[in-house]
């Protein structure tokens, strides 16, 4: 990574107007949009390196065909920002909107997709239910009509969905934030947050203490470790999510394919590698090691859809940490308990696509001190109000 050319190193200043913890897409996008709003005295503190977290480990699926009106409006905002991102940041982020297919293998699955298609259409999203014949036309290499344990009955087709070069997005936001005046500090770990009288006053790091009135927790899988410093309990738990890539093949797969029943999703990257993953490991863990069980399970399920891949080699597998909420929706905005403490967490297995929208809205929220309307459904207080934004059906396997 050409760090020196992309963003500069700085000494830690004694104070910043805003301190952002976490150098992933959410922290960096928020910093970038803050600089555009004229807030420039910002530090982004990253314990390791830019993109160490989920932002450098995800499978880069972008889409807006969610289930709830709140979720759909929010993710649609993000897709639209992504469509302009290469221009906006003057960096090729390789956004390829080649279409997204969610398969249903039983009646209940078809009903769920039909509900989503209708809600999507009402919200102006290009999304519709298609039958096996059309699925086969879109994806001739898939085993649609052959023998299958769970025959394919229909699919939700979302043409604007696709994949992006995730590293490019993160680096471009870091460069954009740097050019806007923000300081990107790598190898800078937050160890404590001082909040005398219920308001943020300083952040303690391995490189020294920084005075600040505003802190944003954008640490995804590590969100609880930061919120523990200020005694804010969170409705989330950290689970590893694994993925793998195959050796590179000639281009043959022109859509993202997802099947919740088979616990698998797959796309082909611009380099030709097949990129595939499943659901999170179902137990809390901060470990980043992959498992054989996952590799075996993934390969087995993939072969049901694409038997001809039997001799293709798996190149590598890895894991990242996901901050899973009970409703599969994020938690964004200020917290009621501490003045100046903001969070953008709960990004689970689906947060990369949300980076631009969350950054854009969190920047407005921090700069104006007012919560933008689109963020209101996702406030931390929704759990106390028992008003969850249920996206499990649309986000558990399809990230």
């Amino acid at each position: 990574m050409p760090a020196s050319r992309m963003w500069r190193d700085h000494e830690l200043k004694e104070s910043y107007d805003v301190v952002i913890i976490g150098g992933g897409v959410h922290g960096l996008a928020t910093a970038y949009y803050l600089t555009k709003l004229g807030v420039k005295n910002i530090a982004i503190l990253e314990a390791k390196y830019i993109g160490f977290g989920g932002s450098g480990r995800n499978t880069a699926i972008i889409r807006s065909n969610y289930r709830t009106p709140e979720g759909i409006a929010f993710y649609d905002h993000s897709v639209k920002l992504y469509e302009q991102l290469a221009l906006d940041l003057d960096f090729n982020v390789m956004f390829s909107q080649h279409g997204h297919l969610t398969l249903a293998h039983n009646e209940r699955g078809v009903t769920g997709l039909r509900e989503r298609a209708h809600t999507n259409q009402l919200m102006g999203i290009d999304s519709r239910l298609i039958q096996p014949r059309e699925i086969q036309e879109l994806c001739p290499m898939m085993n649609v009509f052959g023998p299958q344990r769970y025959p394919i009955q229909a699919a939700l087709y979302h043409p604007p969905g696709g994949i992006i070069r995730h590293d490019a997005v993160v680096w471009a936001y870091a460069r954009g934030a740097d050019r806007g005046g923000a300081h990107v500090h790598q190898l800078t770990e937050v160890n404590d947050i001082e909040t005398p009288n219920g308001a943020v006053s300083a952040v303690v790091t391995n490189r020294g203490r920084i005075k600040t009135g505003i802190v944003l927790n954008a640490t995804a899988g590590y969100a609880s470790t930061i919120c523990d410093m200020v005694n804010i309990p969170l409705a989330l738990e950290t689970h590893p999510l694994q993925a793998f890539v195959s050796e590179a093949l000639k281009p043959w797969l022109h859509h993202v394919i997802v099947s919740s029943t088979l616990h698998i999703y797959i796309s082909q990257s611009d380099r030709g590698e097949l990129v595939s993953g499943a659901e999170v490991d179902d137990y809390l863990s901060y470990s980043l090691r992959g498992t054989l069980a996952f590799a075996e399970g993934g390969a087995t399920h993939l072969l049901e859809l694409f038997p001809f891949l039997a001799n293709v080699k798996m190149l590598r597998q890895w894991a990242g940490l996901c901050d899973m909420t009970p409703d599969y929706s994020p938690i964004m905005g200020p917290v009621d308990e501490i003045k100046g403490f903001y969070i953008t967490v709960g990004w689970g297995t689906y947060g990369f696509k949300a980076g631009p929208a969350s950054g854009h809205l969190m920047a407005q929220c921090i700069q104006s001190g007012k919560t933008p309307k689109m963020l209101e459904p996702f406030l931390n207080s929704r759990f106390l109000r028992d008003q969850l934004v249920g996206e499990k059906a649309a986000a558990s396997v399809s990230h």
Binding site: Y222, S285, Y286, S287, R289
Partner: protein
């Protein structure tokens, strides 16, 4: 990292035989506040370190039991029946 758990009935088995049941929490009393109940239902301690937690031996004896595990290393320190002495 994958891990193994010592089921108090069946002995050491791979993790995929089990279902993780979340942290051991104490239940609020009937007359506790709405906040206390909300917190009980939704909030997770989510420690990066040791946790006492529930496991269910889904693929075998169907026992719910407790384990103490480090969530960073996945080392399982002890497992025990609910309310019983530690078995490992």
């Amino acid at each position: 990292m994958s891990l193994q758990l010592n089921c108090p009935n069946c002995g050491v088995r791979p993790v995929w035989e089990f279902h993780y049941g979340g942290p051991l929490k104490s239940r609020p009393t009937q007359d506790a506040s709405a906040e206390a109940w909300t917190s009980y239902i939704y909030h997770k301690p989510n420690p990066r370190g040791d946790q006492k937690e529930w496991w269910y031996h889904r693929s075998a004896c169907k026992l719910w039991f407790l384990a103490e595990r480090n969530t960073q290393s996945n080392n399982v320190h002890t497992t025990q029946r609910f309310g019983a002495e530690e078995s490992k």
